[in-house]
Symmetry: C2
Subunit: 596 residues, 2 copies
């Protein structure tokens, strides 16, 4: 059975040695009393929860899956899930990143995010139950009426109730403008909602007393398309004025999806049959309100694949050190054994280091963006808030798509290290691969992310936000450019920065001629910019490691080796990606649709 | 449910218009009477079997899996599998590529191979039952005693009995030198074999009256390592002198593996408890004898992923034409509909064309190698036989690794085209991905293939075989170099050929200093050479398509577009691969094992 050790040392390195998050957090009124010890203590406890409570349920949960009682419409998640959730609530974990006004602990985003990385490493399917709740919490917190907030936020904060996002319908996922669910206004100010939703994660289960669904639907007089969609809160059980649970509402699970992975999460087809809801935010502005949730969710999805990458890496390393098979080509390395441990083979190391570098790069990028998000949420300087918000918006599709694509590559490599055993369920490696696959799809496919990045976030403002981020890289390059030891990192970083600038301009020019050029280049372009961010953070990490490598702590030696590996073996992918970006649209469009 | 249409037109194009296989086959005494119509008629009938008989069982077979009765040790494959196999036998299909001396039809390898591509498209898990049999047939045909041949080959040819390969043990897969199963010689010339085997595909089932296991084991006095392994034939039921079935032999299924994919194939843990067997070939030379089977199996595995790539492509195209979602960035393309079919989006086309190009390139390479194999087996010129054999040996690891890695990429892309629906079992797309994953592992992991290619097949003879194959490319470049219309294909092909020559020399030089340099470069190197072969065959296909494009048959227009797409969007991967090859060994080895 797979194992998991929370990577506390690396988290602390990124937070305290590279990004100095405490110094930055202290400038924010909400986090003025934050300190290193508090963060570390929470991560340590959180790591125990992830590794001791939910990780042991990951493999069994996958094998068992969820069960739907078609008479009662009730869903039972796998054995142990309910009890683990009770412990989660008892430990006060749901409140970590919530507003103290509603009983939350008001901790910074970066702390909650690091905690979630570990939860995802332990058990992605389980983590989606509280994860979706937190999304619902955020949407209500941002757009709910005072009554809605008073009714729902304390219970979502305590974890007594969970939440969902009900967006997708059978005929529309990416294109929510086509959705058909209807909301009929009632005399008492509520709405009766009717429709069919699919792919609703954590849509029904027995782990919490109530489930708060956030549902997109159309008012009777709504304009067509995406400008006619409103957001509603629809509880599983209606809530009485005194906060107690009332009648069962007309929203229920009509079927469970049979999926490639995340078997232990209940992915539900939800039927709304005149379910009673109240509106969240303004009529016909539901999509905008839902996007609050969606952006957070996109960062969360990147974090899911980061968690899986780390977990897969750890297990592949353990196997590669233990499994003996063949001799090293350069002569026996373990002559006392019948064969060498497979970690002596260069390609096994390449697969392991790929996963390691993708985990470490992803962790640095995620933590950086988490910190910018804390500033965007809590700075008392409006300009800083706006600037940080724009940077988070720029980097969100990169986290979502780059880290999940990397997670797919990394988990597959880690599975490959196990040879035939990797294909067998009991080792847990193929589960990481299957679970990782959904992250490239949901919350906006990775193609959608790339269009968001290139079309909206970059070309949409003539590259202004990208330029600002690029300036940070340029400043770092300038500052470190004279340090001999940093050349191996700084030179390729500077070179890639220049190439990105040039490539962006080129695509922008071509897009004037034909907007489809954006769609032709976007996916490859996103990976190029993803590598630029990883190269930047690996260079920053290398700088710290170089400063401390004589400390005797081998952590710094390892960090330098990983950074070198990243620059030597992963960054060169950009050479091809830039070429395929440049190859442009015509090779994609010349074939007539009928000839496919 | 997924659909499948046998790609007969493309198969015929490759065989008859590009490779002119009939002209070549007619030079071989065994196939002197072969003609185009015969080949086409067989493929058409074979395609019907694949699409009408076994394809409808693919999705249900995956959901149902195999069942083991732990008391009787009998395994029941999914519903319909036994009946489909009976039809297969009744149709005479097992005999297609078998020796007429034992009841076979003696058809060329390329015909059997094209038939198997279609079977794999229809149902890889089902196809493995007859596929493994054919491997056992080949090993016995090459190394069996006259008695063994007389006993087993007619029944394997008719399909009344099936066969397996029993190699892997829990502690050894790649490194068969460590295997422990024991064979005790008996007074009557037979052996009693004891041991535990795992991952035995089609190891037990109820589809045939007997199962002929080929088992690797050690004689009591065998030297240690791979030079002490012998091969035995161990039937499930002993065979009486009159050919009738005797007692149940001591080989049985102890457990079924729970796998990521190919659920419908019974992957068995086989227990040998004093099972009676007879030796195949010479004592202690079992590994060499087994390699006959293994090489054929490696080509077969590449063919499996080719089949999956084609099937996934067809279904993704159908979905992309049908599913409407969002508008084209360059303006509505289906203004009468609520949204455009997603095939208008450039990245959807990129995913589709990637699968298409990998299918068409793989089919050309496979057919070419099949033809060389026919010549290696049936030419009456010994020099030609040897030359063809060497070329097949060179290209086998490329087929195994390049086509299966491509299949993983392609099936995943095709699944992505379906968005969230791709992740759901009922659409069948995620099954293609899960099934495709095993092909990168079994019959020698893709890392092992790359070491075989670079270390043994190329550097092992100072590049002589590669040079011969390279000369064919150079001749083609020379011949077509003056044709203006061919420049777009010929120039990048010629350039890549030069780069491969240089890269091979570079790695060879470095390997003198440290043999681990081979292991560091091999996987990336194999993909570079894989692309060289695809570029060569796409250029050859483009040549034919250019000659015929005014014929009015849109097939040629489509072929040219696919070739252009391949050169513009897939071949550039070599730019990165060459860089990472060159980055060499040190970034992989600098980290101390303890620091992983």
């Amino acid at each position: 059975m797979p194992q998991y050790n929370p990577p506390l040392r690396d988290m602390q390195f990124v937070m305290h040695e590279v990004l100095n998050v405490v110094d930055e957090l202290k400038l924010l009124p909400a986090h003025a009393d934050m300190d290193v010890d508090t963060i570390n203590a929470i991560l340590e406890e959180g790591g125990k929860f992830a590794s001791e409570v939910i990780q042991p349920l990951n493999l069994s949960g996958d094998a068992e899956g969820c069960k739907l009682d078609k008479t009662t419409h009730e869903v039972t998640p796998p054995k142990g899930f309910k009890e683990a959730y009770a412990k989660y609530v008892e430990g006060g974990w749901p409140a970590l990143g919530c507003d103290p006004e509603y009983g939350g602990q008001g901790l910074p985003v970066i702390v909650n995010q690091a905690f979630y990385e570990m939860l995802n490493s332990g058990n992605q399917a389980w983590t989606m139950y509280p994860g979706l709740s937190h999304g619902a919490y955020e949407a209500l917190h941002a757009h709910g009426t005072p009554e809605q907030k008073a009714t729902y936020l304390p219970k979502l904060t305590s974890g007594e109730w969970t939440g969902t996002m009900c967006l997708t319908e059978p005929h529309c996922g990416t294109d929510l403008g086509m959705l058909r669910s209807k909301a009929e206004p009632q005399a008492d100010g509520t709405y009766k909602i009717t429709g069919a939703k699919i792919f609703i994660s954590a849509g029904e289960h027995d782990m919490a007393a109530n489930i708060i669904h956030l549902v997109l639907a159309r008012l009777p007089d709504a304009p067509a398309g995406s400008k006619g969609i409103s957001l509603f809160v629809v509880p599983k059980f209606n809530v009485n004025a005194d906060g107690s649970l009332g009648e069962r509402n007309g929203i229920y699970c009509g079927g469970l999806e049979h999926k490639m992975g995340i078997h232990a999460n209940s992915t539900c087809q939800m039927v709304l049959d005149g379910a009673v809801g109240t509106m969240v935010g303004q009529p016909n502005k539901g999509l905008a309100a839902m996007f609050v949730m969606m952006n957070a969710a996109r960062l969360g999805v990147g974090n899911q694949s980061l968690g899986l990458t780390e977990a897969a890496y750890q297990n592949a390393v353990a196997y590669a050190k233990d499994r003996i098979q063949m001799r090293s080509l350069s002569g026996p390395k373990a002559p006392d054994k019948a064969a060498d441990p497979i970690i002596v083979h260069p390609d096994v190391r390449k697969m392991l280091l790929t996963a390691r570098a993708y985990a470490e790069g992803g962790r640095a990028l995620n933590t950086y963006v988490g910190l910018q998000l804390d500033k965007a949420l809590s700075s008392d300087d409006e300009d800083e808030r706006k600037e940080c918000e724009a940077e988070v918006a720029l980097l969100t599709p990169i986290i979502k798509a780059f880290i999940t694509d990397n997670g797919w590559i990394a988990t597959s490599h880690c599975m490959q290290v196990f040879g035939g055993h990797g294909y067998i369920h009991e080792w847990g490696m193929e589960q990481f691969v299957r679970d990782a696959r959904i992250n490239m799809i949901y919350e906006g496919t990775n193609t959608i992310q790339s269009l968001d990045l290139l079309g909206r976030k970059i070309l949409g403002n003539n590259g202004a936000t990208l330029k600002k981020f690029g300036k940070k890289i340029a400043t770092f390059v300038e500052d470190e450019g004279t340090d001999e030891a940093m050349q191996e990192f700084i030179n390729p970083l500077a070179e890639l920065g220049d190439k990105v600038t040039k490539l962006t301009t080129e695509i922008g020019m071509k897009a004037f001629g034909n907007p489809d050029e954006v769609g032709a280049a976007a996916v490859d372009y996103l990976r190029v910019v993803g590598h630029l961010t990883f190269a930047y953070f690996f260079a920053r990490m290398a700088k710290v490691a170089l400063q401390k490598k004589d400390s005797g702590d081998p952590f710094y030696t390892a960090k330098l080796s990983t950074a070198r590996f990243y620059f030597a073996k992963l960054l060169p992918e950009t050479a091809s990606l830039i070429r395929t970006c440049r190859a442009g649209l015509s090779p994609l469009m010349e074939m007539d649709e009928a000839l496919f």
